[in-house]
Amino acid sequence: MIRFNLLSVFILVLTCLSFFDPTENKFTSYDIQLSGPDSIQMQSIPGSAHEGVDSFWMSAHEITWDLYEHFLFRDIDYAPLNQEFGPLSMDIDAISSATTPYVDMSFGMGKDGYPVINVTQYAASTFCRWLTAKTGHFYRLPTDDEWEFACRAGSESKYCFGNSARELKEYAWFTNNANQKYQPVGLKKPNRYGLYDMHGNVAEWVVDDPTKPNKQKLPLYPRTVRGGSWKDDSKSLTCSARTLSSKEWKKHDPQLPKSLWWHTDAPFVGFRIVRPYQAPENYEDWWVKPIKDFGF
């Protein structure tokens, strides 16, 4: 059975490889037209059999408050979609809603055009689930491998552009230039895949691959964010750097159980989304399951 699966993965990779030809129009970048001006630019990223990464699309930007609040307030669940609905049909009503936070989760750093922060991995993943129901295409958080592959964009250096931390300020918001807060997405140079803010601004949730052994029952902490943030120095912003979540990220949540949806002490954590070129059969396995948080 395992051998069969490996074989089919191999065949799948070969199939995907056939789409790497840039003249082939089936695997190109596109926009998710969510509501009015709120859209998500999805960049096509050809996979690599050598790296073991299948082709996928990734959002060019970190998900902003403007986008996330459509999920938070559920204000466009039944609004008509301005583009063709995908093949996946799900009941949007059955998707849990994030709670309205008691405190201001943007910490006064701005919302319009700024990345959403303080979201838990579960919340970020449930946004993807909601987006799937909304569009009919499968969205999820990137895997650790996909994230790094996308960040490097072919580079084998510390950063997507090379090894020089001096050049970093052209690509990233971090402690040297961010003025102690996050910044609007997309103001710095993108990498070769057209992805903005992979280094810095807000660190981004990744999800473990549920098809790999022992990935189904992860503890709530620690989990992984990538790319570093406005609070970090250059060392934490490299393509290979990881930051691990901890219970401290909900230090100021006075309730019990603590919120499934919000961190109170992670104003440096956001996310971006991916859509695999080929939606997996058991796609629901890719969405993060809620785990009650008792603060330890």
């Binding site: 201001d104 943007s106 910490f107 006064g108 100021h252 019990l256 009650k292 008792f294 330890f296």
Partner: protein, 445 residues
């Protein structure tokens, strides 16, 4: 404010336990088995009753358990059985191996459940919707219990007076009272306040305090609910229970103004309304208030609170002194600068203890050591009253003095003691509740 009453150095834990028992009223001795009143064999249990089993109450009980290994949750009380059950389940999951819950807490359900639960405890945690707080606090103090209670402490003037009266009794009985205005237990605020007292930015002459955010939860009406149950499930939107968000939430920021200036204001005037959040599910409360508070020192504090999604979010407090300015917020920001822009103090709070835990750590440390250290009730009553004064100003559109407000004896009818009682407010035939209209509404509402 926080007076330390030193105890003899040779006091033992057994003395402490006796002291707790003595501080408790005689009724405790007469009506309870000895083991419930005092551990005579030298074990050092602190019996805690939780009144109000929502998410915050469950959190507070958990923080109490974390604060001291001797804490035992002996009783829980709520009007809703489902809330009580889910609270007990959460606590036993979260503290599976803790001695705090080894003996299953006694459960009491109903409007008078608080009395039965408080009777069994040394410490009462009061975390129901604020409308009920005065009655609960008064009873806990009467019975000689130490208290942790959430803010605000009342929703109307009669409630404020009840709290102030009970606060005096608590002081006489040397009962520690901690109120969940947790910024007062947050290191960044504590350090900045100390530096203010030392005159680092001179005297405060003005300030701005903000809680501008998206708003909070709404619980929709269910078909099987009575009117009273609906209001109690959706309590945030009813003034007798919640007091409007200028009180329930913005009190945190207003309290900082009172704390830093050192007293409460003498006058308020302002404006407000319901512009965006104005549906049937939204009861009576406004979605924005803007108030100017005048202090006896002449300082003017502008207070803004708004629950409107999509607008600028801002929750912090800033003050202008004669020599410099201050900005503080709950994420442990604490920056003091002079008027040349030079930083006088910048707090680094990355390793500070969570203030919600800290307030319990301090309370239970005082109780453990048999010390009388905390008497937060009076300040909390004044800050609650400051918010109520602001609400009176925005509801009426008039300038109102502190004394006028206090003499009004505004009573929102919180004395609901049974499911058969009529709720103090009722919807009209269109399903709308009475809502203040500035210029027409008397401040007495």
């Amino acid at each position: 404010m926080k007076k330390l009453v030193p105890q003899p150095e040779d006091q033992t834990r057994r003395d402490f336990v006796k002291k707790v028992a003595v501080a408790s009223s005689g009724i405790m001795f007469s009506s309870l088995p000895l083991s419930a009143a005092v551990s005579i064999d030298g074990t050092d249990e602190i019996k805690v009753a939780l009144i109000g089993c929502g998410g915050r109450g469950t959190g507070a009980a958990s923080q109490a358990i974390n604060a001291d290994p001797g804490v035992r949750i002996v009783a829980v009380a709520d009007v809703f059985e489902d809330r009580l059950t889910s609270c007990l389940n959460t606590l036993s999951e979260a503290h599976a191996n803790s001695a705090a819950l080894k003996t299953k807490p006694q459960s009491f359900i109903g409007f008078d459940a608080y009395r039965k639960a408080i009777d069994l405890a040394d410490v009462a945690i009061l975390t129901t919707p604020p409308g009920f707080r005065p009655a609960h606090f008064e009873y806990a103090v009467e019975k000689g219990k130490q208290v942790f209670m959430e803010k605000p402490v009342a929703t109307d003037v009669v409630g404020i007076k009840q709290i102030l009266k009970a606060a005096k009794v608590a002081k006489q009985k040397k009962l520690n009272v901690v109120v969940g205005l947790q910024r007062r237990y947050q290191k960044s605020y504590v350090e900045v306040e100390k530096l203010l007292r030392k005159g680092k930015v001179g005297d405060i002459i003005g300030g701005q305090v903000y809680w501008n955010s998206d708003g909070v939860w709404v619980n929709e009406r269910q078909p099987d609910q009575t009117e009273l149950e609906y209001q109690m499930r959706n309590w945030y939107y009813f003034n007798w229970l919640c007091g409007d968000h200028i009180l329930e939430q913005h009190i945190h920021n207003i309290d900082i103004a009172n704390w830093f200036i050192g007293t409460h204001p003498v006058l308020a005037q302002g404006m407000g309304g319901r512009e965006v959040r104005n549906g049937k599910d939204h009861g009576q409360i406004f979605d924005h208030h803007f108030v100017e508070f005048e202090y006896p020192t002449g300082a003017i504090i502008s207070s803004q609170c708004r629950h409107q999604p999509g607008c600028l979010s801002r929750v912090d407090e800033r003050f202008q002194g004669t020599k410099g300015n201050v900005i503080v917020d709950s994420s442990s920001k604490g920056i003091m600068k002079n008027y040349k822009g030079k930083v006088i103090y910048q707090h680094n709070g990355s390793s500070d203890v969570n203030p919600y835990q800290q307030e319990h750590n301090e309370l239970f440390d005082a109780i453990r050591k048999g010390e009388f250290r905390y008497q937060d009730a009076e300040n909390a009553a004044h800050s609650s009253m400051t918010s109520i004064l602001g609400r009176m100003a925005t509801y009426s559109g008039q300038a109102i003095t502190w004394d006028e407000a206090m003499n009004s004896d505004l009573d929102l009818g919180t004395n609901v003691t049974s499911w058969d009682d009529p709720p103090p407010v009722l919807p009209d035939t269109m399903g709308q509740y009475p809502i203040a209209k500035p210029g027409k509404t008397s401040f007495l509402s």
